[in-house]
C-alpha cells in the first residue's frame, strides 16, 4: 500500500490547532502550541522528536487519555473534547488499542486473560471473549503461551501479548508509545514486523511515538516535533 493510496482514504485522526498547557505552581508550561495533524485511515505514522518535544502528550490526546487546553481532536469521527469522562472511557474501549513501552500487562492475569481484559467491556459472552482472545494470541504467535503469566514471558513475548490485547477489540487506531524502547534488537524487529502486519493486512491506523530510527523507518510517514510544533 503506497502513501498516496492511504491519503485518499478517510481521515482517522484530525488534530486541529491544538494547544496543551500544564500548570506548575504559578508557571504555565506550553507543551503543544497550535498543532495541526491529519492521519488518514490505514496510515502508519511515526512521531519523532527530542524528549520534552510533546510527542507523548500528542499521542495521549489522540488516545483520549488526556484533554487539550484548546483546539479540536477528532478521532474515528468523534470530537473527543465533547465527551464526558465516562463517555470517553467507553469510546477508548471501542476505538483505541494501546501498546506501551513497558507492555503494562496485569501481572496476576495470564496471557489469555490479559488479552481478554478489554473484551470484558464488550457485550460478548465468556466463550466468545475466550475465542477472540485466543485468535489474537494465535495471530501474534503465542497461542502456546496462553496460560503463561507475564513474569514467565520474555520482554518480546510480553509485548506481543500487549499487541494482541491492543487489537482484540478491533479498534480504529493503535497508539504505541516507544513500543520497542525496552526490547533487544531481534525482539524489536519482531514487534515491528507484527505492527506492520496489522497495518498492511488488517488496515489498522497506527500512531507510534519513537526515538528509534529503525522503528520509524517502518512507518509510512515520519513527523518530527520540536517544542510543541511539527517541524515537517
Amino acid at each position: 500500500m503506497s502513501a498516496t493510496e492511504v491519503a485518499n482514504k478517510t481521515t482517522a485522526v484530525s488534530v486541529q490547532n491544538v494547544r496543551k498547557f500544564y500548570q506548575r505552581d504559578s508557571m504555565q508550561i506550553k507543551v503543544l502550541d497550535g498543532l495541526n495533524l491529519e492521519v488518514p485511515q490505514g496510515e502508519f505514522l511515526a512521531l519523532m522528536g527530542p524528549s520534552g518535544s510533546g510527542k507523548t502528550t500528542l499521542l495521549n490526546l489522540i488516545a483520549g487519555i488526556d484533554r487539550a487546553t484548546s483546539g479540536r481532536v477528532v478521532v474515528a469521527g468523534t470530537e473527543l473534547g465533547s465527551l464526558s469522562e465516562g463517555q470517553l472511557a467507553k469510546w477508548r474501549s471501542r476505538n483505541v488499542g494501546f501498546i506501551f513501552q513497558f507492555y503494562n500487562l496485569i501481572p496476576v492475569l495470564n496471557a489469555l486473560e490479559n488479552v481478554e481484559l478489554p473484551l470484558l467491556l464488550s457485550p460478548l459472552s465468556k466463550r466468545e471473549r475466550r475465542e477472540r482472545a485466543m485468535t489474537a494470541l494465535r495471530i501474534v504467535g503465542l497461542a502456546d503461551r496462553s496460560k503463561h503469566y507475564p513474569g514467565q514471558l520474555s520482554g518480546g513475548q510480553e509485548q506481543r501479548v500487549a499487541i494482541a490485547r491492543a487489537v482484540v477489540t478491533d479498534p480504529t487506531v493503535l497508539v504505541a508509545d516507544e513500543p520497542t524502547g525496552d526490547l533487544d534488537h531481534q525482539s524489536a524487529e519482531e514487534i515491528l514486523d507484527l505492527m506492520q502486519t496489522f497495518n498492511q493486512e488488517f488496515g489498522k491506523t497506527i500512531v507510534m511515538v519513537t526515538h528509534d530510527p529503525r522503528a520509524a523507518a517502518r512507518a509510512h510517514v515520519q513527523r518530527h516535533l520540536d517544542k510543541g510544533v511539527l517541524t515537517n
Binding site: 495521549n60 488516545a63 487519555i65 488526556d66 469522562e85 465516562g86 472511557a89 467507553k90 469510546w91 477508548r92 474501549s93 471501542r94 494501546f98 506501551f100 513497558f102 503494562n104 496485569i106 501481572p107 496476576v108 492475569l109 481484559l117 478489554p118 470484558l120 467491556l121 490485547r165
Partner: protein
C-alpha cells in the same frame, strides 16, 4: 462490566505477605471485639436469667438486699397464704423461705479468697424456681449437713468438688451435687437445707427473703401495695428478676460501656490499619490502574474493584477473628455484686455475635478501602501510567 472478583483474589494472593498481615490485624480486632461482646452478653444472660417474672421476692422494708433483711416466720406464713401466691400440685403455697450467709472460699489458681452466697432453702425452692437442675451427683437430704454447689462456682473455686467437705460457720457440709440454673447467678451460689442451715448460722425462726410464685406477673403491683400497707409485716415485694438486676447495680452498665468503648477505639484503629494497607496496595499498582483506565474501565469499576478487594480481605480476617474468639465460649469469669458476693458468668459467643463481628470486619474493610480506592479512581490516567 466490572473487573472480575478473581482479579482481586489473585491480587491478594500475589501480595500474600501484606495481605496476611492485614488479615491478622483485622482478625485480632474482630476476635477481641467478639470476646468483649461475648463477655457482656454472658453477663447480661447471667443477670436476665436470674429470677423469673412470675416470682416476687419479699424482703424487709427498706432493705437493699437479702443480707440486710429479716422476716419473722409468722409473717412469712401470713404472706404465703395470700391468694395472689400460686399453689403447687399438693395445694401448698409456692413460697420459699430462705436464709443466706456469705462465706469465703479460695479461688482456683490464685488461692485468693472470694465471697460466695450460701443459701438455705426448703424443698419448695425447687418448685418456685423451676430452672434449677442437679447436673451431677444428687440433691441434699433435708435435715442433713449436705450442700449442692452451683456449677460456675465449682469451675472457679477450689475445694467444692463432689465428696469434699466445706466448713461453714464451724459446721462441716458435705458436697453431694452440682447444679445448673440456665446460666443465672444462682449458679454462683451454694445451696443447703433450710432446716439444717438456719440453726447452724443462728437464723432460727424466720427468713431473710421469701420468694413466692405469683398467680400471674400482673398482680405484683397490687401484691406489693397490699403487703407494704400491712403495718404488721413491714415488708416489700419486688420482681425477682428486677431484684437481681439491681443487685448487679452499676457493674453491668460499666462493663457494657467499657466493651463498647474498647470496641469503638479498636475499630477506629483497625480502619486506619486497613486504610494504610490499601494505600500501600494502591501505590504499588498505580500503573496497573492507569492501564485499566486507558483500556476503558470506568472510574466506578476501579473504585468498586479496590473496595471489593479490601472488603474481601476484611471478610477473611473477620472469619479468622471469629474462629479465634470461638474457644472463649463458655469461659467463666466473675465480678462482685452489691450483695458482696461473686457473680460468675460464662462468655457467650452466640451466632448473633459472630454475625456482628463479621459485619464489623466488612465495615472496617469498606471504610478502610474507600479512601485509597477513591484516590486510585481519581488519579489522572497519564500520571498513573508514568508511575514506576
Amino acid at each position: 462490566m466490572a473487573l472480575p472478583l478473581s482479579y482481586n483474589v489473585r491480587n491478594l494472593r500475589a501480595r500474600w505477605k501484606v495481605t496476611l498481615l492485614a488479615i491478622f490485624g483485622i482478625a485480632l480486632v474482630v476476635a477481641a471485639f467478639v470476646t468483649i461482646l461475648s463477655m457482656a452478653r454472658g453477663f447480661n444472660i447471667a443477670l436476665s436469667s436470674t429470677g423469673s417474672d412470675n416470682n416476687a421476692i419479699v424482703t424487709q422494708r427498706g432493705s437493699m438486699s437479702e443480707l440486710t433483711s429479716w422476716i419473722d416466720i409468722g409473717n412469712a406464713n401470713l404472706i404465703a397464704v395470700d391468694p395472689r401466691v400460686a399453689r403447687g400440685a399438693d395445694g401448698k403455697p409456692l413460697a420459699s423461705c430462705e436464709v443466706v450467709v456469705i462465706t469465703t472460699r479460695p479461688r482456683k489458681g490464685t488461692n485468693i479468697p472470694t465471697n460466695i452466697t450460701f443459701r438455705g432453702v426448703t424443698p419448695t425452692a425447687f418448685n418456685v424456681r423451676n430452672n434449677i437442675k442437679v447436673v451431677e451427683g444428687r440433691t441434699f437430704t433435708p435435715g442433713l449437713f449436705e450442700v449442692i454447689v452451683g456449677k460456675r462456682i465449682a469451675d472457679r473455686v477450689s475445694g467444692v468438688d463432689i465428696g469434699s467437705t466445706i466448713n461453714i460457720q464451724r459446721k462441716n457440709w458435705k458436697v453431694v451435687g452440682l447444679f445448673a440454673a440456665e446460666d443465672s447467678s444462682f449458679e454462683s451460689e451454694i445451696w443447703g437445707d433450710y432446716d439444717a442451715m438456719a440453726p447452724a448460722i443462728g437464723r432460727n425462726g424466720g427468713c431473710e427473703s421469701l420468694t413466692v410464685r405469683l398467680t400471674n406477673p400482673t398482680v405484683l403491683a397490687s401484691f406489693d401495695k397490699d403487703i407494704r400497707g400491712n403495718p404488721q409485716v413491714q415488708v416489700q415485694a419486688d420482681s425477682e428478676k428486677k431484684y437481681y438486676e439491681n443487685l448487679a447495680g452499676s457493674v453491668a452498665t460499666a462493663l457494657i460501656m467499657l466493651a463498647s468503648f474498647v470496641a469503638i477505639v479498636m475499630g477506629i484503629g483497625a480502619v486506619f490499619g486497613a486504610m494504610n494497607t490499601m494505600y500501600a496496595i494502591v501505590s504499588q499498582r498505580t500503573r496497573e490502574i492507569g492501564t485499566l483506565r486507558a483500556l476503558g474501565f470506568s472510574r466506578f469499576s476501579i473504585l468498586f474493584s479496590f473496595v471489593m478487594e479490601s472488603v474481601l480481605l476484611a471478610i477473611i480476617g473477620g472469619v479468622l477473628g471469629c474462629l479465634i474468639a470461638l474457644p472463649m465460649n463458655g469461659y467463666t469469669a466473675a465480678t462482685g455484686t452489691n450483695a458482696f458476693s461473686e457473680l460468675a458468668f460464662a462468655f457467650k459467643v452466640t451466632p448473633g455475635l459472630l454475625i456482628i463481628g463479621l459485619s464489623f470486619a466488612v465495615l472496617m474493610g469498606f471504610v478502610g478501602g474507600l479512601l485509597p480506592a477513591f484516590r486510585a479512581a481519581r488519579m489522572p490516567i497519564t500520571r498513573a501510567l508514568r508511575e514506576a
